[in-house]
């Protein structure tokens, strides 16, 4: 069992997220693809919300997705019917490219992994056993249905046990949740 305080979050991308991302990066990204751009936007917003400009070296970066890079993967398969895929498009099929992009952007070198499929709750359980005192940056990014990019900056903390309420798994990315407790999917709202 592990308790996290939510230090920062990004729960959705506003309609003008592309312009905002370009402003944050200083230029429009030109070769990383829509899914990675969505992820980058959410992660940077989440870090800013946590009041951090860089992730601590010992923090864990855990990224998950239901469908991940299925769009560029489909495009590459089309390209490959009669020729080699284009290099940049092939790179976009690799979800771990987003980890490298984030590391570069956050001036960070550390432990990061992409977990394919499953659920945000399962990802949280893995992040809980793998993260240490610097906590984790946890993201869930998908580009179906207009796209979603949900991120939490989690720090381990000690909180008393009595006020904990069980919550539905979907509550992980609810705005009023302040703490999460893993093992048994018990989530808490201490407000």
């Amino acid at each position: 069992m592990k308790t996290f305080a939510i230090q920062g979050r990004c729960l959705a991308a506003p309609p003008d997220w592309r312009e905002r991302l370009a402003a944050m990066l200083g230029a429009k990204p030109r070769r990383i693809g829509n899914w990675a751009e969505l992820g980058l936007y959410g992660a940077l917003c989440c870090l800013a919300d946590a009041g951090e400009t860089a992730l601590p070296p010992d923090a864990l970066l855990m990224l998950g997705s239901r469908r991940g890079t299925y769009v560029p993967t489909g495009q590459v398969l089309d390209q490959m019917r009669d020729d080699l895929p284009m290099p940049l498009m092939f790179l976009q099929t690799q979800p771990s490219q987003l980890l490298a992009l984030l590391a570069a952007r956050m001036h960070w070198r550390g432990h990061a992994a992409f977990i394919a499929g499953g659920s945000p709750q399962a990802l949280l359980e893995l992040a809980a056993v793998q993260s240490g005192s610097a906590g984790a940056l946890l993201g869930w990014v998908d580009e179906m249905d207009g796209g979603s990019t949900q991120w939490l900056r989690l720090k381990p903390c000690e909180v008393g046990g009595n006020e904990w309420k069980p919550a539905a798994a979907e509550a992980l990315f609810m705005p009023d949740i302040t703490h999460l407790r893993t093992a048994g999917n018990i989530l808490d709202n201490t407000d």
Binding site: A27, K28, R30, R31, D83, L84, M86, P87, L88, L91
Partner: protein, 87 residues
């Protein structure tokens, strides 16, 4: 010296394949493509190499010792392509 028609065509291929913000007309024929100048890196060069080989039938290898010269500018790249093109 102004860009030739062939150079303009190649500039358009560069802009399209690399999704550049600049327009093809803005690429100076003698300005460097790498680093300062157009700001391309080694992965861009790989992308461009494959786009060129698909369009012109010219194979450009990433480990070619002459790459710095070939990719030094739009003009030198175009010269190399015109000398070797199969399409």
């Amino acid at each position: 010296m102004a860009a030739s028609a062939q150079e303009k065509e190649l500039a358009q291929l560069i802009v399209t394949s690399l999704n550049l913000e600049v327009s093809a007309d803005e690429i100076e024929p003698d300005a460097p493509l790498y680093g300062e100048g157009l700001g391309l890196d080694s992965i861009d060069i790989l992308e461009l190499s494959l786009a060129i080989s698909k369009a012109y039938g010219v194979q450009l290898k990433s480990d070619d010792a002459d790459n710095n010269k070939i990719f030094s500018s739009l003009r030198s790249l175009n010269e190399h392509i015109q000398q070797h093109r199969a399409k």
